[in-house]
Every structure is written in structure tokens, then in C-alpha cells.
Amino acid sequence: MSSLLKNIIRFALFILVQVFILHKIPSLHRFITPYLYFLYILWLPFRMSRFSLMLVSFLFGLTLDYFLHYPGLHAAPCVLIAYVRPFLINILISQEGADQNYASPSIVSMGWAPYATYVVVLTLLHHGYLVFLEWMQFGSFLYFIGKVVATTGVSLILILVTELLFFRKEKFRTNTA
């Protein structure tokens, strides 16, 4: 399957899972909102230019916003993590040229520790910005801190489960192939 087609299907799947499964769960506590959709942005290929990365993330966030009737709330954090993503990959990539030999960020292509750091940092950034936007409109500082921590925790567990369930085999590519 071509990378483009795969990502289009993922786009739809992540939105549907987020809207019709994770957002339908009655919340255990007001601090806990299970977010998984932004994993789509973390899984986008290495080779995308930063321009298209941000554009796709913006559209992705906006699509979710239309489902939740809150235009802009998720689009803004999505663009932020898309902007930061290339910097982070540059710092974290361990092997020389791994971003050319593999298609997209994963445990296989980056290694356990760098990939975990990558996910944790971007999750924190995403939730921090998202809750900050909510906090601007209402809520207290306790709400801000509590929700960022709780939501990040839940998201990380969800991401771990997803990575284990849908293990992505990354093919090693060389120039000759």
C-alpha cells in the first residue's frame, strides 16, 4: 500500500476512533479526557516537508474540531506539534541517516528510548497548549496543572497500547533498492 493511501485511511480512522469511541466514554473525572488522535501526526512520514506537515496537521485538527463543534481548539495544538516535530527528530535520531532509511518514526526506526522521549515531549506539548486554551476561557490554575498531568498520563497509556497492538514493521530501505 502506498504511503499516501495509508495515511489517508489513518486520517479517517483516527478521527472516527477519537470522536465515536474515546469521546463517547463517560468521563471518570473532569481532568481526564482520553486523547489519542494526535498520534496520527507523530506517525506521519519523515520525508514530508515542514510546510505540508503543518498543513495536514491543521486540517486534521480542524476536522476533529468540526465534529466536536469547537473550531480551532484542536487545530492550534496540532499545528504546534507539527512545527516542533522536525526539530525533535533531528535531536533524537540516534543512527546516522535513520530518517532516510526508514519511512516514519517508530520504535524500530528510532529505538525505544528516543521514540519514548519523542512521544512524551510532543504529548506534553499538545496537552499543555490544548488545556491552556481551555484555561484561558475558564478554570483555575489547579485545573490547568491537574488536567495536563492526568490527560497526558491517559494518552501515554493509550499510545503504548496502540503501539503494542498495531506494531508497525518498518522496512529498512537503501538507496539501491
Binding site: 469521546h23 473532569r30 503543518m54 498543513l55 466536536l68 469547537y70 481551555e134 478554570g139
Partner: protein, 284 residues
């Protein structure tokens, strides 16, 4: 000029990032103005269609509870029938002469539309419901929405065949309500903590309050007919620095499984708004 172009080229990604951020934040903070103008109508239709597909499946699993709610509502309405009551004094006869039976429509103030809920959330800080009835079927902005058990929310936008309701479980939602027993008016709000409870403010401490008392919509409310159940009193938040109670209410409507709602059209609304505006003009 050349330097400007060089600058733009050098920092293109950062500038594009800023543009997208500003765009997103404009959507967020000018929500009300934006969604009247831009492609929210189309988005509303598409989202509504997808939501409906999902709700067709979900609908089946909640049939039992929906049925119960509708039967309860029927019992409540039946118990109000005139034939259930009789005057204690049989020598007197009650004659109703203020309503002409033939042309009852002339005196009707509120019109009810039924609508099926196709999408709903309770997990955010501002919660919305989608219903399958839109502008083509008579829905307009700012109509009140009630369910079989009590009030649900207010229409905030309507596309051709679908409409979006802001539910009572929203930080921005405020409505006037009164205590059933004594009639004191207060404001209903939601603090965002639990979807099962809402808050009622500005009830003077002189009012007698008991757990389990009903709270109804008030005559002061501009979108609901009076005397529709809002919730029942569950507890008090004691605040010694204020002369007013903040009451915790259990919502009448169970937002986790609301499937059918009634949208209320106030037929005298245009008249009232015209009057209010003419007063505003006079006093300016």
C-alpha cells in the same frame, strides 16, 4: 524589497506556523461570528450525516431507556387530563371561555417540534448535541430544547437538515429558573465537574430549601415555556460571605442517553424582540 523576500523565504516555515496558529485562534475566539459566515454549514451537514450513521447503531442499544422515558412522560401528561379531575362541588360547573376551541392556533404561543438526537458528548467543558432537523424543517437559532424528562439546551446553529444544540452542561450556558415551592428566581449554570449535577445561583438565604425539591424553568426565561423541570435539589454549597445560596441540582435529563428531544418555537418571540428594541431606541 529583496531583503524582505529573502527574510520571508528564510523564515517561511516559522511564518507559516504563525499564520496557521493565528487562523486557528481566530476560529476559537471568534467562534460565534465565524460559524455564521464560513463553511460551517457544509461541515455541519457532513458531520451530521456521519453522526447519524453512528447513531443508527447506538440507537438500538438505548431503546429500552428511551422507551421508559417516553412512557413516563405519557403518564405525566395523561395525569393532567381534565377528565381525571372533578369539582368537589357538583352544583358548580367549570366553564372555560377564554379559549375558542375551533381556532386554538390563534392563541398558541409555543410550538413543539420533535427531533432525533444523532450525536452527543458529555466529556468536554462545552457539550453539544446534534439533532436531525434543520432550517428546512423549521429550526432556527436560539430556540429552546427540552427532552422527555426536562430541559436539554438551546439551538446554537442550524444547517439545512441538522442543528447543533448547546446543552445545559456547558460553561457558557445560563438560564433563569425558579424553585417550585416558593418561586424564587435564580440562574442555572454548570461548573464543568460532573455531567450529573448543575448549579443554581442567586437564591436568597431566606428561601426554604429541602433536598429533593424541584426546580422549574422560570417565567423570566426568554427561550423556555415556564414550569418545565430543570432538576431536583441535591445539596448546598455553604458560602458565609454571601447572602445567596449556591444550590447543587441533579439534572432532570440524563445526558448520557438522551435520544429524542423537542425543539420549542416561541411564536411571540419576534414581537417581544421588536418591543425590546423599540424601548432601547427610545432610551438612547
Amino acid at each position: 524589497m529583496r531583503n524582505v523576500f529573502l527574510f520571508i523565504r528564510r523564515y517561511f516555515n516559522f511564518l507559516f506556523f504563525l499564520v496557521l496558529q493565528i487562523l486557528a485562534l481566530t476560529f476559537l475566539f471568534r467562534y460565534n461570528k465565524f460559524h455564521e459566515a464560513a463553511f460551517n454549514g457544509v461541515a455541519g451537514e457532513v458531520v451530521g450525516k456521519i453522526n447519524e450513521k453512528y447513531s443508527n447503531v447506538e440507537y438500538y442499544f438505548k431503546l429500552k431507556k428511551t422507551n421508559e422515558a417516553l412512557v413516563n412522560e405519557n403518564i405525566h401528561l395523561r395525569s393532567l387530563l381534565k377528565s381525571n379531575y372533578e369539582a368537589s362541588d357538583t352544583t358548580q360547573k367549570i366553564v372555560v371561555d377564554s379559549i375558542r376551541i375551533d381556532s386554538i392556533l390563534k392563541f398558541q404561543r409555543y410550538l413543539y417540534y420533535d427531533a432525533r438526537v444523532v450525536g452527543s458528548f458529555v466529556s468536554a467543558q462545552t457539550n453539544y448535541l446534534d439533532i436531525h432537523r434543520g432550517v428546512n424543517q423549521g429550526i432556527r437559532k436560539d430556540m429552546g430544547v427540552v427532552g422527555p424528562q426536562g430541559i436539554v439546551g438551546r439551538v446554537v446553529e442550524a444547517s439545512d437538515n441538522y442543528a447543533v444544540i448547546m446543552s445545559v452542561l456547558s460553561r457558557q450556558f445560563k438560564v433563569k429558573a425558579k424553585l417550585k415551592k416558593t418561586g424564587e428566581n435564580g440562574t442555572i449554570e454548570w461548573d464543568g465537574v460532573s455531567p450529573l449535577y448543575i448549579q443554581m445561583r442567586d437564591i436568597p438565604k431566606s428561601a426554604p430549601i429541602k433536598k429533593g425539591d424541584s426546580v422549574l424553568t422560570s417565567e423570566l426565561s426568554s427561550i423556555y415555556p415556564p414550569n418545565i423541570l430543570v432538576g431536583t435539589i441535591d445539596g448546598l454549597v455553604i458560602d458565609n460571605s454571601s447572602n445567596f445560596y449556591t444550590i447543587r441540582l441533579k439534572t432532570a435529563t440524563n445526558f448520557l442517553n438522551v435520544q429524542y428531544v423537542y425543539v420549542i418555537d416561541d411564536l411571540q418571540k419576534a414581537e417581544r424582540i421588536k418591543l425590546e428594541e423599540s424601548i432601547k431606541k427610545e432610551h438612547e
